[in-house]
């Protein structure tokens, strides 16, 4: 009866009104063979006090590390105002805004979010979110093939410098539709896509080129050249970007001559806590000309009966609840509350605030580079980078990381497939949250463990 309000009296009153004796009678259409399943392995009911205490203990178990891992999820300071407002019942406990007139709060917020994301990425339109950065990229691949219509080759070029999880998700979500993802070679000196190898694949035959900026190593790709080359091949350009980086870096809408066509990425750096991996949100922006191929919810501004401005879900003919098997995607529930957080975060920070966070992260990561250099650990790649760096160590990285954790430091990520040649390397990230003494601690722990 944990959250059930009924008193015994009310129950009887209701059963009488219905005309049955007991609740079980209401299940008389369920075949008897199915009834009374064995649920012994379920737990006993516990009051809030005990459950909270137990979860406190679990949370505490994993707490207290100084974190230098990035790799797609980034520790940033989140002003208190963000989640205080996100946690308001009116935002948190509303459903998807199907009844627009009773959902103007969420709808206007999403319209503002779409505007902010369009601004950040330099694109014309944005949807209301995808599940995460990885699945947004997969959807972008599907979208690019749709956008090429009759001309589609069902082939997409993926950079070898892409986050391998993103590559896996993209493959797992597209191959059944007979779409081929081709991995581009990268320069093992520069840690970026190898421009010289592009010639070999020239002559078209693919629908889109994916460009990750910064790439998985934290290095900056030559996005202008790549964009123009892809467009010259009749392909679309799908940008995968860290939205925070766009406070500093050239936005995809301005890459090369014509800019990227679709932009996706992980929205987590914009005010969403690490939270063990989610809920985050994927963002997805594109040119207006292909907006009808965009998956997910989209909010539009319109007028009400009195001619006043209001907001509503629009272009629903793209979506599964209207178009069913012809929809642009099967997505229904998205990551709305994380978008709420991101919108409030961007409003609080403004362009200048985001820029400072991005810049402090770049500089902090450079401090890590310099500090590790002093104990003989060198970056694997030169060239400009954002706020991550690949550092070479004399030891197999997985073991090193586990040992460092014993000393209270999460010393970055080790590389697995397809980067086995980097098995001694660490992928490190130092955001604006790291102090000089945090970095000192990292150096001290690593120098003890290597």
């Amino acid at each position: 009866m944990s959250f059930i309000p009924h008193t015994e009296d009310e129950k009887h009153q209701m059963l009488a009104a219905i005309g049955v004796k007991q609740i079980d009678d209401l299940f008389d259409e369920v075949p008897g063979a199915l009834k009374d399943p064995d649920l012994k392995a379920l737990p006993e009911s516990q009051p809030e006090m005990l459950v909270h205490r137990n979860m406190q203990a679990l949370a505490a178990e994993d707490q207290g590390y100084i974190n230098f891992i990035g790799a797609g999820a980034y520790e940033h300071f989140i002003p208190a105002a963000v989640w205080d407002i996100v946690g308001r019942g009116e935002f948190m406990t509303a459903y998807t805004p199907y009844q627009a007139e009773a959902s103007q709060g969420t709808l206007q917020l999403i319209y503002e979010y779409q505007t902010m994301m369009a601004e950040l990425t330099g694109m014309e339109v944005s949807n209301a979110s995808m599940y995460d950065g990885g699945s947004a990229l997969a959807e972008a691949c599907l979208m690019a093939v749709r956008a090429q219509r009759k001309k589609a080759h069902r082939k997409i070029l993926m950079p070898g410098t892409l986050n391998p999880s993103y590559a896996q998700v993209s493959k797992n979500m597209t191959f059944r539709q007979k779409i081929e993802l081709v991995t581009l070679p990268w320069s093992s000196e520069a840690g970026i896509t190898d421009r010289d190898q592009l010639e070999k694949i020239e002559g078209g035959g693919f629908d889109a080129l994916v460009i990750a900026q910064p790439n998985f190593f934290g290095q900056l790709e030559d996005v202008n050249v790549l964009t123009d080359w892809a467009h010259s091949q009749g392909a679309l350009v799908i940008a995968v970007v860290n939205p925070l980086s766009l406070a500093l870096l050239n936005p995809p809408g301005s890459w090369g001559e014509k800019g990227a066509d679709i932009v996706v990425g992980e929205g987590q750096p914009l005010g969403v806590p690490l939270s063990g991996g989610g809920p985050y949100f994927g963002f997805m922006c594109c040119r207006q000309s292909i907006v009808r191929q965009l998956p997910g919810r989209i909010v539009g501004r319109t007028k009400d009966l009195n001619g006043n401005t209001g907001y509503t879900l629009t272009l629903q003919a793209r979506e599964q609840h209207i178009r069913r098997s012809k929809a642009t995607s099967n997505i229904c529930t998205n990551q709305g509350l994380a978008v709420t957080a991101a919108t409030i975060y961007m409003s609080l920070m403004g362009a200048q605030g985001l820029r400072e966070v991005a810049e402090a992260s770049v500089l902090n990561t450079q401090r890590v580079v310099s500090a590790l250099d002093s104990i003989g650990l060198k970056p694997r790649f030169q060239g400009p980078r954002f706020h991550e760096v690949v550092v070479q160590t004399p030891r197999e990285a997985t073991g090193l990381i586990n040992e460092a954790a014993q000393h209270g430091v999460l010393a970055g990520l080790s590389f697995g497939e397809p980067f086995t040649q980097l098995k001694n390397d660490l992928l490190l990230c130092a955001t604006e949250t790291k102090t000089a003494s945090d970095i000192e601690k990292l150096v001290q722990v690593l120098s003890a463990c290597i």
Binding site: S45, P251, T302, G310, S329, E356
Partner: protein, 491 residues
């Protein structure tokens, strides 16, 4: 007013400024040393330039324009808008969870992983399935996982002629859309006037081309699929597999299990059945559970228990798993809320969820029927939800189900789901959930009776509703025709 209209050039929330961050005082490196100008952006994105109070006031005020469970009865069918425990929110927002990096080494993740492992186990028990993966982020991604697993199973057996997924005509849109995303063709199976699937049509449709059937039970018609055992036998007979869309699990939680019905794989919508907040659109969590045959194909990552703790099962090239569907570990914060909920409910609480959700729906159905509203399935029990139709009112009074819905908002109730399932004209799908009181439902009935009287006396009042909300009826056609998706006047 849009936040952009409150902007002023160079305004900002100064207390967030990092201009004095120690890192900026290190003379050894400046941004321009590290990143050449060619990579940098030349303009400043036109984000809002407002004070902290302006942001707080703007979004606090915006929030007040929403209906929500915390403020309104919200009987949105198929969505299970029950109370979202505040205790779950607090527990999931504990700093130890919030600060947890998804790629932290396992040795620094045992607390979190033990909660997730426990949840996996419990979801397996309550669905009657052997194995669970928590990673899908919502129902539709769970569906994708499940159908992809079915495909992987057939493919592994080189049974490649199976190109068709069957779905009932009443199915949720995500079902056919998912089948297509997985490379299947969709064949629709009609639903009888009784609300049950047309068994004869099903038998006819089944064949060596059948990969599987997707079914919601209780169905989207708000009734229990009585021939479920025959259906599953027939599909299995034909070599197909059965997918259970768990959106309606709230109706049978702890009372009957999809696994026992013969389903091979399913998803749960934790944001429905396990009371995690829907957040104005999301996030959700759509764990998949599978029986023996499909368990090896479950998506990763999953938590595995060893003698000395927990570890992540990660996708490997040789594995039969369909692999990962997102970059990390799923919507962990949502999963933690569900874990909290399962702990508070326990076995007995879970059973009661279905009992009282069903009691409430049947009571409300009876009351509305007594008041003369037309039930879609008058001879059937309601499950946790039921359908009424305004076809009569639409014909005789010229007011549609939508008009009724919009007017209902003026009475402080969120409207039920309208026009779904599509096969019932002018319908409402009404789901009160188990956390609402008798008194609230009685008030709902009263409001509907009043509105019908209004419809008879002054139909215009409904057609132009709502009258008391922040906006009047919105022009959806205009929204789609004169696309305005991004505010531009401020740049």
């Amino acid at each position: 007013m849009l936040i952009f209209k409150k902007s002023k050039k160079n305004r900002r929330a100064k207390s967030l400024s990092l201009a004095n961050h120690e890192v900026f005082s290190d003379p050894r490196s400046t941004l321009s040393d590290l990143i050449p100008a060619a990579f940098l952006r030349s303009d400043k994105p036109a984000l809002p330039e407002v004070s902290e109070l302006q942001t707080v006031r703007h979004y606090t005020r915006l929030s007040r324009k929403n209906f929500s469970i915390d403020t309104n009865f919200y009987p949105l069918g198929s969505c299970t808008m029950k109370y979202n425990p505040r205790g779950a929110h607090r527990a999931a927002m504990l700093p130890g969870f919030l600060e947890h990096h998804p790629l932290a080494p396992e040795c620094a993740s045992q607390g979190l992983m033990s909660a997730l492992y426990q949840l996996q186990e419990w979801l397996g028990v309550v669905t009657g399935m052997g194995a669970v993966s928590l990673s899908p982020m919502a129902g539709a991604q769970g569906e994708f996982a499940g159908v992809a697993m079915i495909k992987a199973y057939h493919d592994a057996r080189n049974d490649t002629q199976r190109t068709e997924i069957l779905v009932p005509t009443a199915a949720h849109g995500t079902n056919p859309a998912t089948a297509i995303m997985c490379g299947y063709q969709v064949r629709e199976i009609p639903v009888l006037d009784s609300g049950d699937v047309d068994l004869a049509a099903l038998h006819k449709a089944l064949g060596p081309q059948t990969a599987g059937l997707m079914l919601t039970n209780p169905s989207t018609c708000g009734v229990f699929e009585r021939s479920i055992l025959e259906i599953s036998a027939a599909v299995h007979e034909a070599g197909g597999l059965l997918y259970y869309d768990g959106a309606n699990l709230n109706a049978i939680l702890g009372q009957a299990r999809p696994g026992d019905m013969g389903f091979d794989v399913l998803h749960l919508n934790l944001h429905k059945t396990f009371a995690t907040p829907h957040g104005g659109g999301g996030p959700g969590a759509g764990p998949v559970a599978a029986g023996e045959r499909l368990a090896p194909y479950l998506p990763t990552p999953r938590v595995i228990k060893h003698d000395d703790g927990y570890s992540w099962q990660m996708p490997n090239d040789g594995d039969p798993s369909i692999g990962r569907l997102s970059a990390f570990m799923g919507n962990v914060g949502v999963l933690l809320r569900a874990y909290y909920y399962a702990n508070v409910l326990g076995r007995s609480g879970m059973k009661q969820v279905a009992e009282y959700a069903t009691l409430n729906a049947n009571y409300l159905m009876k009351r509305l029927a007594d008041e003369g509203f037309a039930l879609a399935y008058p001879d059937r029990r309601a499950t946790h939800e039921f359908i009424i139709s305004f076809q009569k009112e639409a014909k005789t009074l010229g007011v549609t189900a939508m008009d009724f819905a919009k007017r209902l908002l003026d009475f402080g109730f969120h409207a039920p789901t309208t026009y779904f399932p599509l096969l019932i004209p002018e319908c409402w799908l009404i789901e009160p959930t188990e956390t609402e009181t008798l008194a609230e439902m009685d008030r709902f009935v009263e409001a509907l009776v009043t509105i019908r009287k209004e419809a008879e006396e002054d139909a215009e009042k409904l057609k132009t509703a709502p009258h008391t909300l922040p906006v009047r009826r919105l022009d959806d056609v205009r929204a789609a025709r004169e696309l305005d998706l991004v505010y531009k006047e401020h740049t």
